[in-house]
Amino acid sequence: MTHQNISERVFNTIKERGITPKPKWQFLLKNSLLWVVAIGTIFLGAISFAILVFLFQNNDWDFYQYIHQHLISFLVFSLPFLWMGLFLMFIFLAQYQMKRTKHGYRYSLKYLFGIVLFFTMFLGIIFYQIGFGQAIDEKLASSFTLYKEILSNREMRWSQPLEGLLSGTVLSVQTNRFELKDFQGKTWTITITPQTHIFPFFHIETTDRLRLIGKQINVNTFEAQRIGPWILRKPQLFKKFLFEKKSE
């Protein structure tokens, strides 16, 4: 068979087998799915980034020397490695998906990485600003014990009154003292002395969640040396409407 006969042979095969071109919608669907997966991965990466920013901002940098002796050990135990890993994983996945789109091959890996990183972080910042990061972190902590105890162990870290670390929600405020309910449900009387350092521009009010460094005086009393907000920013709009618990 010479190659000049190939065209005729192929055409006869097409006629005999009734081969037809695949419908256009199949290709449109395949290409659309690639984009949906890529955008979905960027979306997930943005959520991870929002949670990362939230956790970084509230990582107790101002109080680290009271929690750990060394900055390195503090970083090792407190950094949110899970979310850092997930964020990077979603970035690389999104980049891989975009490379596989119809014209993705025209762009270098570095360029695609940069684009994906930019849009993921941009969307992530928006999610963070509307409180998405905090809301998801707290929802995961309240729904999964493993997440709360191992991956988001901040509450446990701040529930060691014998070690001088306490946290909880303010129940009532009086002069030089206030009532606090810790995250385990126990009520404390917190005393404030002239040496107590309160976070700048922060006023203690009922329902505020706080972190305290000080000394346990007796079973129900804690003398505060340093008081700071639990979250550095107030709850945002999204969290307020979706995750705020009804008052008991």
Binding site: H3, I14, I19, P21
Partner: protein, 199 residues
Amino acid sequence: MPLFYSSLKESDKNFTDEELVKKTLENQEFFVSLMKRYEQKLFHYILKISSFSKEEAEDLLQEIFLKVYQNLNDFDVSLKFSSWIYRITHNEVISQYRKRKRRPEGNIKELEDFVWDNLASSLDISKEISRQEQQKTIRRVLRRMDKKYREVLVLKFLEEKDYKEISDILQKPLGTVATLLNRAKKEFKKLSQQAFFEL
């Protein structure tokens, strides 16, 4: 062959590839004209980038044309049709090699003199050796080269594709194609100097 096909052949020459694709989707008879335009080019291209025999190359070319026909609705109009069909051909050759777990070595046989001259000039082969020795050197060197360098050299100098076309065929960014060609030329020069002394 039906009369209709015979009468189509002459007028088809006036159509561009892209117009023929559209017409094929309305009437499959036009696909023969499209295949006729590319069967020789692709047949020789397969031989250049693989070590298939002529019979194997013909069989593969049939499979390629069937695949092209089935995927016609996926033809991206932002590409040249030639880039698209070359892309399918290139990918099918690689796919066949993966199935056989072999490395494509390239098998350049007869080319027109002007192609050899162009190649020798572009790759800086010594003009002091005869054309026959030039061809021997080029064939030997291309066979020894890394696949990723050989394929860009073949597309650029033997298939005379430009950078954009090579980018579309190999599905690599333009910058990568330029870098690969640059490195390929250097690699070719180095290997050709070694090969020259072996002649």
